[in-house]
């Protein structure tokens, strides 16, 4: 067995887990809950095995030293992100004896997996170019992903909090979460369509940048482009109009908003120092070692800084009256949007110095 087989098992497991958690959330059947947890744990173990196997394979193939775990290209780092996310989730499930977050966390893992498949990114074990052979970079990448996962968890609890806490459809917080969720769904559908239409081309060495939204918004056919916009607005409006059902499902669950608020804060409070140290400081040290500049305002660096400021905002806003609860949750959601943009948007949409993480 090799790492990709093992990882294939984990992927199927995570998808099953996602379905089970959602079924569990809908029917609150204990057996389904136990199945969901078991499937997640088993997949996580398979995933862990795949990770170490891939590490060893890179070494045996003479492409990497034993010092370099497999977290050095986009594919590997997304896989590592999922690993951290699931680990963090399992810790929360055990500590707070509550499964309902599973239905919100496993879809993030599912999305990440779908993203890998949709973009057809390279899964090869690649040798490391000289600039990437650095222990600082390693610490930087590892810690960044641990913090991203924590921010991802805080995003999940924040969205749940908002769903539970908003009443009226005209309320800004309600509009915020329903539109955010709607946009997320639209992006996913658009990317799936790109995949269906272009995946043969995208799996070649062609860059995914050229295909992003070509099946929809950026279609050469103006009618298709226009219809895509109309469909998007329709989808977002539908989420907005039917959000009440989601609220029923979530609030039928015994997670208090207070616990969600606390979790949102706690995950940020652990993620923020890790991100500061690993994401910003170690990244700067690596840049200083490799290029002789610790800060060069390149788009990736700047987006990390933006992310950092959003979470600094989150922490400081709590010190002012009236910035707990809903408003804090909104900031946490924005923070995670910044995280995703830092990681993917900069590579997909902005060109940068960082060759690291490009989809080739």
């Amino acid at each position: 067995m090799d790492s990709s087989t093992l990882f294939g098992i984990a992927t199927i497991g995570y998808i099953l887990a996602m379905v089970s958690y959602i079924v569990y959330l809908a029917f609150r059947n204990r057996t389904v809950g136990i199945i969901a947890t078991t499937v997640t744990v088993v997949s996580f173990i398979a995933h862990t095995g795949a990770f170490f196997m891939r590490w060893y394979e890179g070494y045996v193939m003479g492409l990497r030293s034993l010092w370099h775990p497999p977290i050095s290209n986009l594919y590997e780092s997304i896989i590592f992100f999922i690993w951290c996310l699931i680990l963090g989730y399992l810790i929360i499930e055990i500590k707070y004896k509550n499964r309902s977050f599973g239905a919100f966390v496993t879809p993030i893992a599912g999305l990440a997996l779908a993203f890998i498949e949709m973009t057809g990114m390279s899964k090869e074990i690649e040798p490391l170019v000289p600039a990437l052979q650095s222990n600082w970079l390693l610490a930087h990448v590892t810690m960044s992903f641990i913090s991203y996962s924590l921010f991802g968890l805080s995003f999940a609890t924040a969205i749940m909090y908002l769903i539970e806490k908003t009443e009226k459809k005209t309320e800004p917080a309600y509009i915020f979460w329903s539109v955010s969720l709607g946009v997320l769904i639209v992006l996913l559908i658009a990317m799936s369509l790109d995949y269906l239409e272009f995946h043969v081309a995208a799996t070649s060495s062609e860059n995914i940048k050229n295909y992003l939204f070509r099946a929809t918004f950026k279609s050469p056919n103006p009618t298709v482009a226009l219809l895509s916009w109309i469909a998007s607005f329709a989808i977002i409006a539908t989420v907005w109009a039917t959000g009440g059902y989601l609220k029923k499902i979530v609030s039928a669950f015994n997670v208090t908003p207070e616990l969600l608020d606390e979790l949102t804060y706690k995950t940020v409070a652990i993620g923020f120092p890790i991100f500061t140290l690993g994401g910003l400081i170690f990244g700067a040290i690596w840049a200083d070692q490799a290029w002789g500049v610790y800060w060069s305002w390149d788009p990736k660096e700047t987006w990390s800084l933006i992310t950092w400021f959003v979470y600094a905002f989150f922490l400081h806003a709590r010190l002012m009256r009236g910035w707990r609860g809903k408003r804090a949750a909104i900031v946490s959601v924005i923070g995670f949007v910044a995280v995703v943009f830092t990681y993917l948007g900069v590579n997909l949409l902005l060109s940068g110095l960082h060759s690291y993480g490009s989809l080739s």
């Binding site: 490391l128 000289p130 052979q133 923020f272 400081h316």
Partner: protein, 473 residues
């Protein structure tokens, strides 16, 4: 002080002392930074006009460019208004911290005092237990239980018999926030020093050549280093037989006042530091002038080995024979087509090859390509070997040259920030009081405690301590 009695200075102080200003500045810096990532900084105007055309359409782009340009967005991180934002941010941080420091300092350094046993204030954590032993015999057990939990308790007797034990730990963690804030100031100071007293340049140094200047990135003007640096050799290592580079290496030597003072091989993540300057392996290339030296290690059939250095067109003799090799051609990157023709696929030295003709007493014997990366091609039919070691003197190493006297301050700031964040997020200020008084058949122990962070964890710890105590006594 009433609002209208405040002086102008007071008002300015209050303005900078507010956390509201801080979150406003966080938002402003974050939002404007986004623009700077969309518009390519310091790029030729055409590039950004194209970007703007994609975003805004043909018609608006030139006008938008003009407006953005006049606002400094083409080099926004150095524009007056962005720098102003950063200065405001720094002032906000300093004033805000100074404003709160005295209170926090008091909280940090204040010794813990005993409670009034009759009217203890309300505490988030409180427990009551009765133990079957009189207070005096309990004292030692309680002290050691507290010590085991990490406290060093103080002891004070009470008027109506019994006594009180109280302790705190982690009081210094309250300073974590301020240490974090201070670290940001330190980093900014380091960055400013780097901007004013640093140097950012480059130097393309051919193998065998030396230089006592580097060239500024800004205007390419030469900058005196105060010492001489020489490139002894440059080499690229590849992954296996592929063209994927594994490592770039330069062998450098530093001379000060004519004397050699340092010798080091540098790699991409391993620069050379001397005299306040750092030399990074940044790029490399080939000189267009040619005229380098071929270095071979030649072994005759009887095993005798010699190293020879020759230029194009020169000859050498294989030790112990009369066979003479003459260097005829060179290719930096030799490739072979399917029908056996050879060609050069790139001008970089990705696969250096040399064509040598061997003759014996003037008569041609054999000839062919010898490739540096393919040991198989080093063997000659008669069992001797010509190892192609290097074609030296035709490559240059591209060095990034930096002097940043502020970088150590930035690093110091980073360390301080690590410590500050650890204190702020992972340590908590914990206080505990045990009030022990006589009860009917033993003593009553009342526990009061607080923690400014992660209270549940502290509560669990106290519970363990209490249940251990109950078992022991």
């Amino acid at each position: 002080m009433a609002e209208r009695d405040k002086t102008f200075v007071d008002r300015i102080w209050d303005f900078f002392a507010s956390v509201k200003l801080a979150v406003v500045l966080f938002s402003l810096i974050a939002l404007t930074s986004i623009v700077g990532t969309v518009i390519e900084q310091n790029a030729p105007p055409e590039k950004n006009i194209i970007v703007l055309k994609r975003l805004l359409g043909e018609r608006l782009a030139p006008e938008a460019y003009r407006v953005l340009d006049s606002l400094g967005f083409m080099d926004m991180y150095h524009s007056w208004w962005f720098v102003t934002l950063l200065v405001l941010f720094a002032m906000n941080l300093i004033v805000c911290s100074l404003e709160r420091l005295p209170r926090i300092w008091r909280l940090t350094t204040e010794p813990i005092k005993p409670l009034n046993p009759d009217k203890p204030p309300s505490f988030p954590i409180r427990k009551e237990i009765t133990l079957k032993a009189d207070p005096e015999t309990l004292r030692e057990a309680l002290i050691s239980a507290l010590k085991k939990t990490g406290f060093r308790p103080m002891n004070s007797p009470m008027q109506k018999g019994g006594f009180q034990l109280y302790a705190q730990k982690g009081n210094w963690s309250r300073l974590g926030v301020y240490i974090t804030h201070l670290s940001i100031i330190i980093i900014m100071v380091g960055a400013v020093i780097g901007i004013f007293f640093g140097f950012n340049g480059f130097l393309n140094l051919p193998e065998g050549r030396s230089s006592d200047v580097a060239y500024s990135r800004k205007d390419s003007r030469p900058h005196q280093l105060g010492f001489t640096i020489r490139c002894d050799d440059f080499d690229v290592e590849f992954y296996g037989m592929s063209d994927m580079p594994k490592d770039y290496r330069s062998w450098l030597t530093v001379f000060k006042d004519g004397k050699e003072v340092m010798r080091k091989m540098i790699e991409v993540n391993e620069p050379l530091r001397y005299g306040g300057y750092t030399f990074y392996q940044a790029s490399y290339g080939m000189l267009s002038t040619g005229g380098g030296y071929f270095i071979f290690r030649v072994r005759g059939p009887d095993g005798k080995t010699e190293t020879v250095t020759k230029i194009m067109g020169e000859s050498f003799v294989i030790p112990g024979t009369k066979i003479k090799g003459t260097i005829k051609k060179f290719s930096p990157a030799l490739a072979v087509t399917q029908d056996g023709r050879t060609y050069t696929y790139t001008e970089m030295m990705n696969n250096p090859a040399v064509y040598i003709e061997f003759t014996e007493k003037g008569k041609p014997k054999y000839s062919g390509w010898i490739l540096k990366r393919y040991p198989k091609t080093w063997r000659l039919p008669d069992g001797s070997m010509v190892q192609f070691i290097d074609y030296w003197g035709v490559q240059y190493t591209g060095l990034q040259v930096r002097k940043d006297p502020g970088v150590w301050i930035v690093y110091l700031g980073c360390i301080v920030m690590g410590i500050g964040l650890y204190m702020a997020f992972f340590m908590s200020h914990r206080k505990i009081w045990l009030i022990v008084s006589e009860a009917k058949d033993g003593s009553l122990v009342r526990v009061f405690a607080t923690a400014n962070k992660n209270r549940p964890a502290f509560e669990r710890k106290i519970e363990t301590m209490v249940s251990n105590l109950t078992e022991e006594v």
